[in-house]
Symmetry: C2
């Protein structure tokens, strides 16, 4: 058999770690401390400390594949854990500090985490579930972490295989028990390479990246690894996530790319509107938005300020990059309306990602209307869950079934219209609740809007809209209905609009529709009786 003559070098963090020390040693990492001061270190120092962390873990008996948990904000020490834990051959398990303490305990036990590394400021949270977990050791950043590093003996790091597990995250599924996904060294390296491409997130040594998305949320979309691979300067917000604190970092650290969920950018927009002259941000600053759809109006608003929202889509199960909404060159001269419409979609798959849209086993036409479930496969997409597995989430031909309803247009742009679970089935037809929500959030008086389907005696289900107005803005139900009527057929228009102060969200910023549905469960439709 005629065979290739290339080197058999595995794709592991080892090469990334060595590069951080040898080629990118002087690249800066800036972290905001709990007291709001800024702490600056370098890739070189972090690489050296990560190696000490790995050696310390090896010395205490952590073995290949063992899980080591973190309960930390975004900062340099968390990056050390991102590197040091996998360099020891172990698996970093980032605990989501926004979950209920009982859920954190469930997840830590389900993963069988042996060690916890925790921020001193998060010890009060840890105390709330400490009696429900059995870590062999708890290392506290701000207390004994430095001593742990200093005491690390000069052990050799293990040689890693690219199929070795590197990290795990749990889905924040609103139904059923949380389920684990385990990333490999190979999947992480490939995901990092594709994320950095010019048509993906376009990350380079010329950037200062500001991951506001938490490092306990799908590994901050993998961005810390991507930055480490390409040598982008990093700025971390620490625990300070209010709009003014974020703007302080973006301004003082000359951030060129930031990443977070739409709610975050909504808050930034309000802060910028309030004090338009106060902030001097990097011209052309790109804000990657994921986790939920970004309303077209938000993209337009930021454009007017010389800032650029870049829409991307992914899930815990997809590492997460699955779609990126960057306009291709042939649309350079397209009408403005079309350009914004496309940028508000989830976009196109980057290299190595393959998608399919299926309804009843068929592929609907790519007409920007006909929808089906979005399926995805890539070397960084889950093939199963590590526990509580649900094989029905995978198609017979090996695609992951996202649970998202989507259509594709003639430009190849995919738009998610709803979760399959959130579709409103009314009179035998489907109503996409998220399309209504996105349209409502495009109204100048609306801050947030959620649409749910409620049981209806005649139509099976009918839509109800829950709306939060912007501060000092006024709008009536009739005005909102007329606004939607310009875009949707009558049948889709919500029967009722309820104004409220806040909409419940999951720990990852998504609307908690199960809570909303429970809240309105006994709703009495006008003109009907029980």
């Amino acid at each position: 058999m005629f065979s290739h003559t290339m080197m058999e070098l595995p794709l592991t963090l080892t090469t990334l770690h060595r590069r951080m020390g040898e080629v990118l040693g002087h690249v800066e990492v800036v972290s905001r401390r709990p007291d709001k001061s800024f702490h600056t270190t370098t890739f070189g120092a972090i690489a050296a400390r990560a190696e000490k962390l790995a050696r310390g873990l090896l010395a205490m008996g952590i073995a290949r594949g063992d899980r080591v948990a973190t309960l930390m904000w975004n900062h340099a020490e968390h990056l050390e854990a991102y590197l040091g834990i996998p360099l020891a051959g172990a698996v970093i398990h980032t605990l989501n500090l926004r979950l209920h303490p009982d859920d954190i305990a469930y997840i830590a036990n389900d993963a069988a985490d042996r060690v916890l590394i925790v921020d001193a400021v998060l010890l009060p949270l840890y105390e709330k579930f400490a009696d429900k977990v059995r870590f062999e050791r708890v290392i506290v950043v701000g207390r004994d972490y430095e001593a742990f590093l200093d005491a690390a003996p000069p052990l050799a790091l293990p040689a890693l295989a690219e199929s070795d597990p590197l990290g795990m995250c749990y889905t924040s599924g609103t139904t059923g028990r949380p389920k684990g996904v385990v990333y490999s060294h190979r999947s992480t390296l490939l995901h990092s390479l594709v994320s950095a491409l010019p048509d993906s997130l376009r990350l380079s040594r010329s950037d200062t990246l500001f991951p506001v998305v938490p490092m306990f949320h799908v590994n901050a979309w993998g961005l810390p690894y991507t930055a480490a691979l390409v040598g982008a300067r990093l700025a971390f917000p620490g625990p300070h996530l209010d709009p003014v604190s974020l703007l302080e970092v973006m301004e003082s650290q000359h951030v060129t790319i930031a990443a977070g969920v739409p709610t975050l950018w909504l808050g930034i927009r309000e802060a910028l509107d309030k004090e338009p002259a106060r902030w001097k941000l990097h011209p052309g600053l790109t804000m990657i938005v994921g986790g939920a759809a970004a309303p077209e109006r938000l993209i337009r608003d930021f454009d007017r300020q010389g800032l650029s929202l870049l829409h991307a889509w992914g899930m815990t199960e997809t590492s997460p990059i699955g779609l990126v909404s960057r306009l291709p060159p042939e649309l350079d001269d397209a009408p403005e309306a079309l350009r914004y419409q496309l940028r508000a979609k989830q976009g196109v798959p980057p290299p190595l990602v393959e998608i399919a849209i299926r309804k009843d086993g068929e592929t609907p036409p790519a007409d920007g209307r006909s929808s089906g479930e979005l399926l995805v496969r890539a070397p960084w997409v889950a093939a199963r869950y590590s526990s509580n597995n649900t094989p029905d989430r995978w198609s017979d031909d090996g695609y992951f079934r996202t649970g998202d309803v989507a259509h594709r247009d003639a430009h190849g742009f995919v738009q998610l219209t709803d979760r399959t679970a959130d579709l409103i089935k009314s009179g035998g037809e489907w109503i996409a609740s998220q399309e209504l929500e996105n349209a409502l959030m495009g109204h100048p008086a609306v801050r947030e809007a959620a649409v749910i389907g409620l049981a209806h005696p005649k139509w099976s289900e009918r839509p109800l809209a829950v709306v939060v107005k912007k501060p000092d803005a006024e709008v009536t139900e009739a005005e909102l209905r007329a606004y939607l009527a310009e875009k949707f057929i009558k049948f889709w228009l919500p029967d009722v609009f309820v104004f409220t102060d806040t909409i419940p969200r999951t720990s990852t910023g998504k609307f908690q529709k199960t809570t909303l549905r429970a809240q309105f469960a006994g709703y009495q439709w006008p003109g009907t009786t029980d």
Copy 2:
């Protein structure tokens, strides 16, 4: 054992090919025909035709790992072969049409090529070695190639493994028999991803790429695969490689990135100097230069015209990307002299490439002076040759020994100073011939210069410079010696300068020093006698 839960998807051309058809179908490929007309097709059409080519090859019994040769210029049909041959599970072997016909025959026989795909305009070359080879079939583009595609039966393409061989190239080694290197699907996909990164060649859907470097020369530096992966529009020169023809393509096709050897850009500079107002090139057009060092003056000259030379380094054995010379952001405000000095170096390794510089087993200090042999390893670097293997080209710890002498500076930039074989050993010290050549080519009156070591009765070897003046330029030996004396110690200065009309080059554009040394073998040093 706790294991990852990711999909096991191989890195093969299959995913790239599917992407070309499904996501990038409308991206254009423009080829210049022998009659100088332009032919435009699309990724979608090429993907469909590549599949037909694969099916045709399968139908004639081509099996996994079989070699299929091409003897072609750069154009769309060659890209079809780049895809179609490996999609059949076979290995594309690009024959170098600049070699002597006997050498082409040797290489085709050494590789055991079963089939040849040849351009009709290259049939006269083929006839020169046809009696020395035994292809089972010769398919001629411009004659029976279209019929071959049309006759392809509807066979299923094989499922490929990422370790399957994809293509092979032979080194153009000036010493010893040519040696084969076999790339794999994995090495090609990884090389393409890293090549496209913003800090590497920065290739995206917004680009029109113009690979002037021949597709029979290290796969045109892998650029056709990189373009196919990211969706860059392609322009191919066909057989027309004179400066004016190249400028016609660059202007009319709005080329944003071109790639070729220094000689090519020297010719372009002369053509631009001759008719400065004639050409309207894309502002900021990047010209990737590799294969030999680009003189600093050439970089400066193009900068003045708003064009940007980007220096990269690699070899047949390295796929080829090994170093890229892009200035990092911390040097944005560095003095102009330093910036040009660094840009004329070979640069820094991109992600996944690891280098070492060693002299007598030690790593010299990174002081920009102390040199040793450059060693390299990456998933796309050869671990052996497919025939005529020379194990001494690999270090005990698995690095490829490039045969290049290099040093590294405090910014991490590597500069190649010579081939180990071309070092001039004089009075117990080393003189780097390429450093002298690069300096000479920075003189305004010098078009080309080569420096060789000749046996000397007292000093063992002494340097002799062979110089080609620019058209209409004049310069004396004394002037050149004085010019070099500003940069080098006296001991390094060539004892003799010989003016000539041309310097012999290898088929890949490098100075043929063996020929020069033979030419001057009996040189009588002034003041010495035999």
